[in-house]
Amino acid sequence: MNAIAAAGYLESLLAGQPHLPAASPALGWINELRAEAVDRVGELTVPSLRDEDWRFTDISQLTRLSFQRAQALTPLLPADIERFHIAEASNRLVFVDGLYAPRLSSIAADSGVVVTHLTEGGAEHAALIEAHLGRHANFGNNVFAALNTAFLQDAALILVPRNTTVSGPLHVLFIATQAGVASYPRCLLVAETGSAVTLIEDYVALQEAAYFTDAVTEISVADDAQVSHVRVQREGTQGFHIANCAVSLARASRYHSVSVALGARLSRYNLNVLQTGEGAECSVDGLALIASRQLADTHTYIDHARPFGISRQLHKCIVGGAAHAVFNGKIMVRPGAQRTDSAQSSRNLLLSDKAYIDTQPQLEIFADDVKCTHGATVGQLDNEEVFYLTSRGLSDDVARKLLTYAFGAEIIERIPVASLRQQLAQTVLAQTSGQP
């Protein structure tokens, strides 16, 4: 990538930024945060293959295109998005091309949880927002997080009060509808002490043209609180999706994440989980199912900063066509984080000769009394299994589909929302059948 082109690229993305409406007076600090982020974008460069963190993921096809913030809300009818509804969801926040769509959203009157977005309900919860928004996802060294923060406007806010268990998952749905648009989805979830909630973060498209999603999610899980985080990236085939998620886990909190990447021409997901309190527990599972010329990159970083932390990770990639999957999973055990118990596994299935995968599990341990395991495998479908199924009359194609599906199902089954599990099971079955 040449530096001039890259600089021009960032400049053109920032072109619409000065036209953002100012934040409400109660949240005046957001204007400063944005300005700070704009400055930071000016100082940073677009990552290239020379950056250690991006050495397998070439984003030049993204930086060759130019995208602008959406000017207006695409008028959608509830029926247009019905197929994305999740039956169990108690609340649904919908953003269209990054802009909040009140008429498509449905917010339960009293589910004991605050579900709102920055421009509407921000003022009421100013103190809590200020304590968290922009505090977890650091943009100092991350140009995409900085860009997202520069455009911070309609953020989804979910604030779960102390000891509140939210019944039914909260669905935050981001829909891409306009070609050439850059959207900056933002999500903040604060689970206060002893609370419990399930968040579904869902990216879908109603278009086949090129667009760019640059998302940031921040999740704060207080002492003894529990968050289940399901993330579904089912962007359009020409979409670009770059997302950063930062999770902070306080004492004895629990965080369970399942992320599924199916869509986009190029996607990158950075998930950083920081255990800031003792005895925090997390599971971080993922599935990338891609084909044709897709690229899906998942970088996770689990930071055991305090003793007695537990982490479990199973990441799977199913790669067909000439697609390329990247997985980098780093487990950090800091000095003093004794009795950390961590297990990480990367399992990968290659469905064609041209498909490829770069997988890098990484352990960095600076404490001596810990239990850490990790491993990675890359393989093809088992011929004995294919034969067993065909010997019962299943066609070779169906047998392979079924086995491929079974490989991915292990992750899908960990999603704690039945209807979403079924939806994804169908998608995965359909998608595995389309493998060349």
Binding site: E385, F387, L389, T390, S391, G393, L394, L403, E410
Partner: protein, 267 residues
Amino acid sequence: MIYQDSRTLLEVRGLRATVSGIEILKGLDFTVNSGEVHAIMGPNGSGKSTFAKVLAGHPAYTVTGGTVSFMGRNLFDLAPEERARAGVFLAFQYPIEIPGVANSQFLRLAYNTLQAQRGKDELDPLEFDDFVREKMKLLEMNPDFLDRSVNEGFSGGEKKRNEILQMAILEPRLAILDETDSGLDIDALRIVSQGVNQLANPESATVLVTHYQRLLNYIVPDFVHVMEAGRIIKTGGKELALELETRGYDWVGAEHLEQEAAGRVAA
């Protein structure tokens, strides 16, 4: 049972096959007519499972000579799934485990594929559930096995029963049961044998590969064959199995050598 108006289901002539470049089947002849029950016995390593897997179309084996026709068609023209759909069924000696594929889903897919092939109606999950539970009763199998992954964590005997369950569902023309009796406890052997007998009909045939006469008390064979070094070297009635039980295999080999020598002199 031997019937007057039976038809030839399977005709194997001079079959040769290799695995990893090693010849295992060395000119095998074998004929099965509808309604019949055949037992194939023979020492370990003589090629019984190889023969069964070659018939089912296992890709690891290469056929290097001979012919096999199944109901008048060249079996080697058919892919494994086409053989299954034409009515060939192999109950494996060592059924493999398939994690992540639910037994119920697998059985229903297999059943519906064959139903479609036969021009009959497919069953939806609920209808199939009723159907398969009936079949499981026949084999005294716990319905919980439906919810588990195919063979995953099944005991040796449970895997064998699951094989026969598949046979009961698919109703093949030619069922080859490769040592289905090994690993079954005494009651299971009786139950499974009864199941196999109930499925028998004048249109279909059964080939039992076994080491033990005991199975043949339950499923009475019309013919007993001895396989050695990749060939059928002796064929007899059910009493041959009893004789093998008491005398072992050595004498059959010796007799075969004598006959071959005599044959060469005569020729």
